[in-house]
């Protein structure tokens, strides 16, 4: 299992467009990808799940990935967050 904490840096937080980008990229991997904020968890392949986390700018999220391609999936998730979702 891969685990990594990141901070949401883009201005609008994880609203529809970033959530859609996360789902698009997460869905390319077989691994199970979970975002956890405090005691809430969301499936990163679910747009509603991610948006329901309500993660705003400056908040911490833990990414947990388990599966055959967990390493690649983690790299892809981190570079997506680092890109600020193109904002």
């Amino acid at each position: 299992m891969q685990k990594q904490e990141i901070i949401v840096k883009n201005e609008t937080g994880l609203h529809a467009r970033p959530a859609a980008m996360i789902v698009k990229i997460a869905s390319r991997f077989q691994s199970n990808i979970i975002f956890a904020k405090e005691d809430h968890e969301a499936n990163a392949k679910s747009m509603m799940g991610i948006m329901a986390l309500g993660a705003a700018k400056g908040e911490r999220i833990e990414i947990r990935i388990e599966g055959a391609d967990e390493k690649e999936a983690m790299d892809a998730m981190i570079s997506l967050f680092e890109s600020n979702f193109g904002e």
């Binding site: 609008t12 937080g13 609203h15 529809a16 467009r17 859609a20 980008m21 789902v23 698009k24 990229i25 390319r28 969301a42 499936n43 392949k45 679910s46 747009m47 509603m48 799940g49 948006m51 329901a52 309500g54 705003a56 892809a76 570079s79 997506l80 680092e82 890109s83 600020n84 193109g86 904002e87």
Partner: protein, 564 residues
Amino acid sequence: MYKGIGASPGIAVGKVLLFKKEDIVIESGAVDDVEKEQNRFHGALKKTREQIEEIKRRTLAEQQAILDAHLMILEDPELIGGVEGAIRAEKLNAEAALEKVMNMFIAIFESMENGYMKERAADIRDVGERLLMNLLGKELPNLAKLKEPVIIVAHDLTPSDTAQLDRENVLGFVTDIGGRTSHSAIMARTMEIPAVVGLKDITQHVKNGDILVFDGEEGIVLVNPEDALVREYARKREEQLQAKKELRKLINSSTISTDGRKVELGCNIGNPKDAKKADENGAEGIGLYRTEFLYMDRTSLPTEEEQLEAYKAVLEIMGKRPVIIRTLDIGGDKELPYMNLPKEMNPFLGYRAIRICLDRKEIFKTQLRALLRAGIYGNLKIMYPMISSVEEVRAANKILEEAKQELQHEGKDYASNIAVGIMVEIPAAAVISDMLAREVDFFSIGTNDLIQYTTAVDRMNEKIAHLYNPFHPALLRLIKLVIDNGHKAGIWVGMCGEAAGDKRLIPVFLGMGLDELSMGAGSILPARKQIQSLSYEEMKVVADQVLQMDTAEEIEKFVTKLCK
């Protein structure tokens, strides 16, 4: 009189059509045949998807993004998994399982503090309602075909209701719930129909056929007012429509000052859909086609063929009118995750735009090949962004030549005589614009970056936002320099930054001699009307006066007074 929230300006006078949806009662009993319920649920998912896709085909571009989000909800694993789980574990029928999962999501979104997120509950409710009706084999009422002009009175209008609205016959709408940023309010403004929302219980106070009068600016609604008032509002409405009509009349007219100086009004666009809007608003060309959208929201670079299609689509909409396509401008604040560009301390002074293109030639050449090939479908011009030196223009042109030769060898059709220009957005380019003018066919001044680079003000930094100022004398002086140098070399000079659509600066730019102004679609007709009322000779004097002023404040005051 009822008072709500003015959501979309304009006056409406007309007959009421109450739009009501039936209350659905869900019978929840334990089911034996779990398999059958799962199949019913998946059948409803499929049917709902088809319906939304059909609505999407018939609606405005602005609505399509929302309907795309609805389609994503339908594919959401949490929703599908949740409903399947509830059917399997709790032996619920599909309706009850769906309602349970939807209500859970709606409750989460509604409890959020962020207004935008709260609004998303409406999307989930909209999709859920449609799914439920399909499960029950019922049809949702819609407002797609109305017999006569009416004012819609509803508890709320969902995104799919507004997407289907019969725009010919809807004079306006008023609703019980909603705020200025509700979906229905935003769509009313986009469709330019008057609306008042947040009236609490207006549906309880009117019936079909009542006469309603309302003002979408003030948020005031009158039910069956006396005749004199109806006439008064009808007259006001007529005046507003007249003013709008006057503006619409200018769609096919040229933009010429009172003393015969012609200016071309272009539109800034980001995709082929925007080009339609440009066309509908009387654009004389596309002054800036940002190609970044082709590269964003995806996981790999777009192919030559994909790009060709997007460029061709815009060229075909614009016909003989010029379309200036800016080559890839990423980096700075626009990043592409799949390119793995390193983080930089100063991204705006870093690896971006033409700098990336000259370094990663294969990316640039693919785009240039697509542009050259698209050139045969219309009046295409190529524009390089972020040019700071003559060398860069020559290097870019060299790659353009290589692209031409490749296409020649491959026997592919392409336009060989495409005009090539640069965006002047770095002060260095403005300062040596006399030299650059010998290398290119046109200049387009990009004010957004030119202000930022000239005054060393990061336009994203809120702390110093007040220093980001289009009236700064240094900026206006640079603009004048670029125009004069371009004209001396016999090339035309345009502008595609935000300042180009600013009515306070348009007189100054006209006087300075700009040949083209490119702006958002909504600004084109007002700008045309303005220029048609100005004298070029007089504005020359105004521009000279402005160039003598010492402070941005003085300039802003002067030009603001001038355009009143």
